[in-house]
């Protein structure tokens, strides 16, 4: 509750900051302070201290998992602002408003991590999406940015329509929005709509698959990620996507039994299709930004394992995955915003000219590929181990397929490393400050630390 209220208030505060000052570094400092405050009030909530007491009528249910996820997401946003805050204020004309919209997105995230009613799911997804439509089109003069935001809007509102249709069908049958399935006593004279509830749930899942860009519904992702200003792509691909997964997991937690055995067949198909399309298409890309968009689809395939199996290990897995994937992707996109040429060739010879950038970029890419000693390895390991733990040897084929696709992903991540270290070229790069380099090195160290001691992060979760 603290986080929801405080993030909305911070958003409003940022808008007022935009009125009183146009000094960009002052705006960034206000955003950093507000984010620190957000983390603190969220931690206070975990220890049972409330800033405001609100009776939510069990529409929201606060659990350790959701609260810890909030902390993780806010910390990732803090890293994002520290690293690319300058690009956020320079993305368009209105620096402070972009931060305000980011805070509104965080408000949506904190609703999605603790909703207990389909009404809150809908509101959370909308609070998350509408600011993103604007952020995608932040670069008003850029045609690509405009088109990306139109496309995102059309796809987003279409999936919202499907989500709502699903909610009405579930409501018609159960008479409640609570996600803890409550079958009412059959109301008098109500005909039997037996098929409607599964259909309704199917609609809701299709809408959520849209939001996390899983396979048959992924087609908007590359265009939108490519067209949006690079800073906001980094925000969308990490924080927003992870929030989509948490809302997905919450719903599956509550309704898994009702959906019965058929989901155990459909979900692996979706997972494999997502891994296949994401990885294979990423191989053929020429632009690194577009490659990262497809790779984010591929990573979504791995994150879907946390929806497929539902145990403690998969929850630890999704937390680790969020941390590892967010940190690495934020770092790569931060370097990408500094490059003049964002094709693979643009990275040629980066190691000679800017060794720090090349080395940290290599660490981030290794983490995404899941090489041991980086955070990405344990993230993938926990996901796959959770599948084996739950389903035994029967699910081994799924694990093997996933590992094979992880091997495919190594190919396109290493293309960037190869370009940086083993090719000659003159990379054109805008001015990088010492602070930026220090922040990058800190991120890389963080990735190696999580990769060496993953239990440190997870112990904190149980603390």
């Amino acid at each position: 509750m603290n986080a929801i209220i405080f993030s909305a208030l911070s958003g409003v505060a940022m808008m007022f900051t935009g009125i009183f000052t146009t000094n960009k570094s002052a705006i960034r400092n206000v955003a950093v302070i507000a984010l620190l405050g957000l983390i603190i009030v969220n931690l206070l909530h975990s220890y049972g201290i409330f800033v405001v007491r609100v009776n939510t009528h069990s529409m929201l249910q606060f659990e350790t998992f959701g609260l810890f996820f909030n902390t993780l997401v806010f910390a990732a946003t803090l890293l994002f602002v520290l690293l690319s805050g300058k690009d956020v204020t320079n993305a368009g004309t209105y620096g402070a408003e972009y931060f305000a919209l980011i805070f509104f997105v965080l408000c949506g995230v904190s609703i999605l991590t603790c909703y207990n009613s389909l009404l809150m799911l809908f509101i959370g997804i909308e609070i998350l999406s509408i600011p993103l439509y604007i952020l995608t089109g932040a670069d008003k003069r850029n045609l690509k940015s405009n088109e990306a935001s139109l496309k995102y809007f059309l796809m987003g509102s279409f999936s919202t329509g499907i989500l709502l249709m699903g909610i009405t069908l579930v409501y018609g049958i159960t008479g409640t929005f609570s996600i803890e399935a409550m079958r009412p006593a059959v109301s008098v004279g109500a005909p039997n709509y037996g098929i409607l509830e599964p259909v309704g749930l199917l609609f809701i899942f299709i809408a959520l698959l849209f939001k996390v860009s899983a396979a048959p519904f992924h087609f908007w992702t590359p265009d939108v990620y490519d067209g949006a200003p690079t800073v906001f792509t980094s925000f969308m691909a990490t924080i927003v996507k992870a929030a989509g997964f948490v809302s997905f997991i919450r719903l599956f937690d509550a309704r898994a039994i009702e959906m019965g055995i058929s989901w155990k067949i459909i979900l692996p198909v979706i997972i494999i299709a997502t891994l296949l399309i994401g990885n294979i298409t990423a191989v053929f890309q020429q632009s690194v930004k577009r490659m990262m968009a497809y790779s984010s689809i591929a990573q979504a395939g791995f994150m879907l394992f946390a929806v497929y199996v539902n145990n403690d290990m998969s929850k630890e897995g999704i937390l680790l995955y969020t941390a590892a994937y967010s940190i690495a992707t934020i770092g790569i996109f931060a370097i990408l915003t500094r490059m003049k040429d964002i094709t693979f060739d643009g990275f040629n010879g980066l190691a000679k000219k800017h060794p720090v950038l090349a080395a940290t970029n290599a660490v981030f890419l290794l983490s995404l590929a899941g090489i041991p000693l980086t955070a990405g390895f344990f993230a993938k390991y926990y996901m796959l181990a959770a599948v084996v733990k739950e389903n035994g040897a029967g699910a081994l084929w799924l694990v093997i397929v996933a590992v094979l696709f992880a091997a495919v992903s190594v190919y396109y991540y290493f293309r960037v490393i190869q370009a940086m270290y083993f090719k000659e070229g003159e990379p054109e790069i805008t001015e990088v400050s010492g602070g930026f380099k220090t922040a990058l090195v800190m991120l890389a160290v963080l990735i190696v630390l999580i990769g060496t001691f993953p239990s440190a992060l997870l112990n904190w979760f149980y603390f």
Partner: protein
């Protein structure tokens, strides 16, 4: 005269939903596409109110939900119109075919 059964209202709302979906996929005019989205959302509203009135008359859940949908649809429309105006300024057209900068 017998009252209208709930199934008739469901037919209307389902028809509206699919008309909206059809419009979203076939029309190339951005304003018409926006209208199709609104059709989808309004069909859902009809559904909610009908279910509430016929099946659960004791509670107001469905009606509250439709109020939220109306509010959020308005916010969405505002953002959409802003995006469309911005595109019109650069393309001088509101046909989505003219917005072909991003090839897919």
């Amino acid at each position: 005269m017998s009252p209208v059964p709930v199934t008739h209202i469901l037919f209307v709302s389902t028809a509206l939903f699919f008309i909206g979906m059809y419009g979203l996929f076939t029309r190339r005019n951005m304003i018409t596409m926006l209208m199709s989205v609104e059709l989808i959302l309004n069909s859902v509203n009809i559904n909610f109110v009908a279910f509430n009135k016929y099946l659960y008359p004791g509670k107001l859940d469905g009606i509250f939900f439709s109020l939220f949908i109306i509010t959020i649809a308005a916010a969405e429309a505002a953002v959409a119109i802003a995006i469309i105006i911005n595109l019109y300024r650069s393309h001088h057209s509101i046909d989505v075919e003219d917005a072909g900068e991003l090839k897919y």
